[in-house]
């Protein structure tokens, strides 16, 4: 790790001030992506702004019927939270399958969503549930938030404070894990929301998480595993690497979508 200066601001406002005051600063929450990257000398932030303990950023509450998950809430806490289990159990299931126990007790939903790793699990949930990304400056709808691999709508000094989720009528997440990293080679989150059926795919797209319109249309007509079988899933725009070619990923999208629908 290169030398860096560590800050522990007491409030989001202080954190934002530090961010705007240091051009090469990075926000640190669970560090499950940032710290390994720094250890490999692939990132060298001048300052680390640790927001994990800022009051109000951790924990789950319900407001006007919606789940409000603090950005610094660890995956393990989302996985066992009573409100999440009641209102959006698919989200709890997803959180329970991220990484391994060590990762789950440090990694946070805000960190995952801010990073937008194309193989991360949470982006598919946020997109499929039509969740809102709440920051220190505004609220961003899911459809406006994900801009590409590791790219989001967040501004330079913008910090996610919470993810707000309207409980779906039904939802589920099915993930096919990379045997080595256990990240999603393909992860499909299916949700029947107030605005209709949404299907978000992570792990497979060369531009990061995306909605699959063909699957959404088929499931809107008939929310059944059989409806998934009739959809032709294209390999265009899908990732190809040593673990999975684009055609295999296209196939897995269908398989995981089917399993998610069956479980929803």
């Amino acid at each position: 790790m290169y030398a860096t200066t560590y800050h522990r601001p007491a409030s989001v406002a202080d954190a934002a001030k530090l961010l705007s005051g240091h051009a090469e600063a990075k926000v640190l929450a669970g560090g499950q992506t940032l710290l390994p990257t720094m250890k490999q000398h692939l990132a060298a932030p001048s300052d680390l702004i640790d927001i994990r303990r800022i009051p109000g950023l951790q924990g789950v509450s319900v407001a006007n019927g919606a789940l409000v998950i603090g950005a610094a809430t660890a995956h393990a806490d989302v996985a066992r939270n009573a409100e999440v289990l009641r209102h959006a159990p698919a989200l709890a299931c997803l959180a329970a399958g991220i990484g391994d126990p060590a990762v789950r007790h440090m990694g946070t939903i805000g960190g995952s969503v801010a990073n937008n790793d194309p193989a991360a699990d949470y982006p598919s949930a946020v997109l499929a549930l039509n969740a809102t990304v709440v920051t220190n400056r505004r609220e961003i709808a899911a459809d406006d938030y994900f801009k590409g691999m590791f790219t989001t709508a967040l501004g330079a000094d913008e910090i996610i404070t919470a993810i707000r989720v309207t409980p779906p009528k039904r939802a589920a997440y099915a993930k096919f894990a990379n045997p080595a990293s256990r990240y999603a080679l393909v992860g499909v989150f299916v949700a029947e929301t107030a605005s209709g059926v949404r299907v978000a795919v992570t792990g497979a797209g060369s531009d990061g998480v995306f909605r699959h319109k063909g699957l959404e249309a088929a499931l809107a007509a008939s929310f059944t595993p059989e409806a998934v079988d009739k959809v032709k899933i294209s390999a265009d725009g899908l990732l190809s690497d040593i673990h999975a070619g684009a055609d295999y990923r296209a196939h897995l999208i269908g398989v995981m979508a089917r399993r998610a629908v069956a479980a929803a």
Binding site: H41, P179, A180, D229, I242
Partner: protein, 786 residues
């Protein structure tokens, strides 16, 4: 007896290991030690046209920046391969120069060109990044079967066409004729996938030059500290042997990768002399992936002929073996004398021929890795047998039985002479324990759940206990492969055993003590095993090739024989009895049939006070022995894997794994089971998960656990382990060895099971979900569409 041979004694060494008090090389702290960081080539193949170290030298905490030309000027010798293998035409192997720090050329991504010595590891690493090296990139070749292409990039000038040797064994004409005249011929193209050893403890070295004494001390993660000292002294010119002490403290796994003496140890020793500081280096996992010797990487074509009753008439193999950018210490013998000599398998085959072409590529050097040549041979034979059985409509177990060797000793056409075995008995035990009879019902039940179940066999045999010195010497080995032991009975009766073997996970401190305890009826707490320090143990060849039992313990037994003889002479004199009437049991020397005895500690005291010894007897009770095996040993077994494949995704679950092994005499069944568990896990890892992948331009793509999949607990089942014992007739305790069997026998069993499940023989390792899915589509398109 409860602590002797055959007892499930808990390991003595575990107390320090599981309480965090193990003492590994990285734990060693020398006074005022400095740290090394290596500058490594990012290119797979390039000329080094300049090194600018000025920026690095000026950085905080930097003591020195050293390069290849200075190393060569100080007469540090090139790394060598110690086993001379010749080509068919009689010419010797083409050993290209390997300097510990590259001088004019780098030949793999990771090849070291300079080293920074600094006050802290962080300072060393930062400065290493500031060393500016100018490279003129050259095209690279990475795949074994492309290295010989006309026009392929040349890795070493001394090896035109990248060919290191073109070696053969067996009678080609007779084998060709036998196959040509066969009733049925099975032919396969088989790749043995390249692996990275990944021991839990990365490599480390702490080197100290004592200027006052002109003496070097090296702490190193080595499986064989005496071999390290020999090679560092005789070939690398670091220091004469008597001025070099090598210590391998606790070593956290090796699997072969810690046999070799790497550039890093050589450079640390030399740098310590240059800087007059202790120099310490410890790899991180990325560096381990990049520099630890890899294993396997064979591409083969195999042809087997059968007569009308299914008996093998001939077996022909052509192999290209990738040895990487430089010839590592044992590398030449792994795809030849440790591989082709096992191509008879458990079968009575009259005609065998094998041709091996070893090649250079711009990749990490390849050398022995758990099994070393025998997994490659076993994978070939056992896939051929299973495939042939399917082609001929025969039960795979029956085809094997038809061909089993049943009379011993058995001379194969490929040098090895098997001493003892019961191959049919192994198979019977495996069939029963695996409940093969119930498989059809389990397969049907799985099918109702949409899953494909398959059964696969692997009847492996291997050569262990390497090796009879004269025999391997005649085959080109530069060393002898005996082992040494010294048994010291202390004045008050405790015992120290100094062994040339070295434990890096095998539990020698326990099993060796069990042998002594068994012999004299002493508690194992009274027996201390000493290993790993060239100042304490005079010489030894180290631990690899499952040799510590057959060879290491045999040396101990010989020394124990001498101790017993002297003990009886002393006791006979003191008790005024005839030696022939004496027995040693329960920690005492007793006159049989009487109550007259001498306690063990009394014998020791008598020997060292020397007040009343037989006339002419020297005082003391200390005996040494060297043991040179008369033959290899031949552990063998029958493995049966049962898998369930999900045709929708190609995922394979190993639902059952049955191992029926013949290891000869077993000293500690618990430790042996552990060895089988670990070996089978590594075998399943090779079959399903692990593969080193290089891009075409020589970049290591699988450079971390993000991409290199090691088996985890949920990747393997609980194993069913059986034993069928035929003692080895060629060493005192009848030991065959057990450490590598799992890694040798498991991969073909798993792949045979998957191909049985999905109905095609065309499947490569690792059988990742993608590979299996594609294989299913290629064989049965309707099945895979789901």
């Amino acid at each position: 007896m409860s602590e002797g041979i055959g007892a499930r004694v808990k390991r003595k060494e575990d107390k320090r290991f599981i309480t965090g008090k193990g003492r590994y090389t990285d734990d060693i702290r020398m006074e005022n030690q400095a740290y090394a960081a290596f500058v490594r080539s990012p290119h797979a193949h390039a000329r080094v046209t300049g090194i600018d170290r000025s920026a690095a030298e000026g950085m905080e905490g930097v003591i020195a920046v050293l390069t290849g030309p200075e190393l060569v000027a100080d007469k540090i010798g090139n790394l060598i391969c110690g086993w001379a293998v010749s080509s068919k035409d009689g010419s010797g192997m083409k050993m290209g120069p390997w300097s510990a720090l590259a001088t004019d050329k780098v030949r793999y991504a990771g090849d070291a060109v300079a080293v920074v010595i600094a006050e802290t590891p962080a300072a060393a690493r930062l400065a290493a990044e500031a060393v500016a090296v100018d490279y003129a990139e050259l095209p690279a070749v990475v795949h074994a079967d492309r290295a010989l292409d006309p026009g392929a990039p040349q890795v070493h000038d001394v090896a035109p066409g990248n060919l290191i040797y073109d070696w053969e064994i067996g009678n080609e004409a007779a084998t060709d004729a036998a196959i040509a005249g066969a009733h049925h011929v099975t032919r396969m193209e088989i790749t043995n996938n390249r692996l990275s050893p990944n021991p839990m403890e990365p490599r480390s070295a702490v080197a100290t030059f004592d200027e006052a004494e002109d003496h070097y001390t090296l702490y190193t993660t080595s499986q064989n500290p005496h071999v390290a000292r020999l090679v560092l002294s005789a070939f690398y010119n670091v220091a004469p042997e008597h001025k070099l002490r090598v210590i391998a403290p606790d070593v956290g796994g090796g699997f072969g990768s810690k046999i070799y003496i790497y550039p890093e140890e050589i450079v640390c020793l030399w740098a310590s002399m240059k800087t007059k500081r202790s120099v310490k280096w410890t790899a991180d996992r990325s560096e381990a992936f990049l520099t630890d010797a890899h294993g396997r990487d064979h591409v083969s074509t195999a042809t087997m002929g059968f007569d009308t009753s299914g008996r093998i008439t001939g077996f022909k193999v052509e192999t290209i073996a990738n040895l990487g950018a430089y010839m590592s210490l044992f590398s030449s013998c792994v795809p030849t004398y440790l591989y082709a000599t096992l191509l008879s398998g458990q079968y009575d085959i009259a005609n065998i021929h094998c041709n091996v072409k070893a090649v250079y590529t711009n990749t990490v050097p390849v050398d022995a890795y758990r099994g070393a040549g025998r997994p490659e041979a076993c994978y070939l034979i056992e896939r051929m047998m299973e495939t042939a059985a399917r082609e001929m409509g025969m039960n795979p177990a029956d085809l094997r039985r038809k061909n089993f060797i049943t009379a011993f000793p058995h001379q194969t056409p490929v040098i090895m002479a098997y001493d003892a075995g019961d191959f049919g008995g192994n198979l019977d035990k495996a069939l029963k324990a695996a409940d093969v009879a119930g498989f059809a019902a389990r397969k049907a039940e799985a099918a109702r759940r949409g899953k494909l179940r398959g059964l696969g066999y692997s009847c492996y045999i291997e050569a262990c206990g390497i090796a009879p010195s004269a025999a391997v010497g005649s085959l080109g080995a530069g060393v002898g492969l005996w082992e040494s032991a010294e048994v010291r009975v202390n004045p008050v009766g405790t015992i120290e055993v100094l062994t040339g073997s070295h434990s890096h996970g095998q539990g020698h401190e326990t099993t060796f003590a069990q042998v002594v305890a068994d012999r004299f009826g002493l508690p194992i707490g009274n027996v201390q095993i000493v290993h790993g320090d060239t100042d304490k143990v005079q010489f030894g060849m180290g631990t690899y090739g499952s040799r510590s039992g057959a060879v290491g313990i045999s040396a101990i037994v010989k020394a124990l024989d001498k101790v017993e003889a002297k003990v009886k002479k002393i006791a006979a004199h003191v008790l005024e009895a005839a030696e022939a009437d004496l027995v040693i049991e329960g920690g005492a020397v007793k006159v049989a049939g009487t109550d007259r005895q001498m306690a063990w500690h009394e014998v020791g005291l008598a020997a060292y006070t020397a007040h009343n010894l037989p006339a002419g007897m020297e005082p003391g009770l200390k005996e040494g022995a060297f043991y040179d095996p008369v033959n290899f040993t031949f552990p063998a077994g029958a493995y049966i894997a049962e898998v369930e494949v999900d045709p929708a995704t190609g995922v394979t679950e190993v639902v059952r794994f049955t191992a029926a092994d013949d290891f000869g005499t077993i000293i500690n069944p618990m430790i042996v089971e552990g060895q089988v568990h670990g070996g089978v896990a590594q075998g399943i890892g090779q079959a399903l998960l692990e593969e080193v992948v290089y891009s075409d331009d020589g970049q290591l793509v699988t450079g971390s656990f993000m991409d290199y999949a090691m088996p985890r607990a949920d990747d393997v089942p609980f194993y069913t382990i059986e034993h069928n014992t035929t003692v080895c007739p060629n060493n005192p305790l009848g030991l065959k060895g057990c450490g590598e069997a799992g890694a040798i026998g498991a991969p073909p069993a798993v792949i045979n099971a998957i191909t049985d499940a999905i109905g095609t023989n065309d499947l490569a390792m690792p059988a990742t979900p993608q590979r299996v899915w594609r294989a299913i589509r290629a064989a049965r398109p309707a099945m895979a569409a789901e």
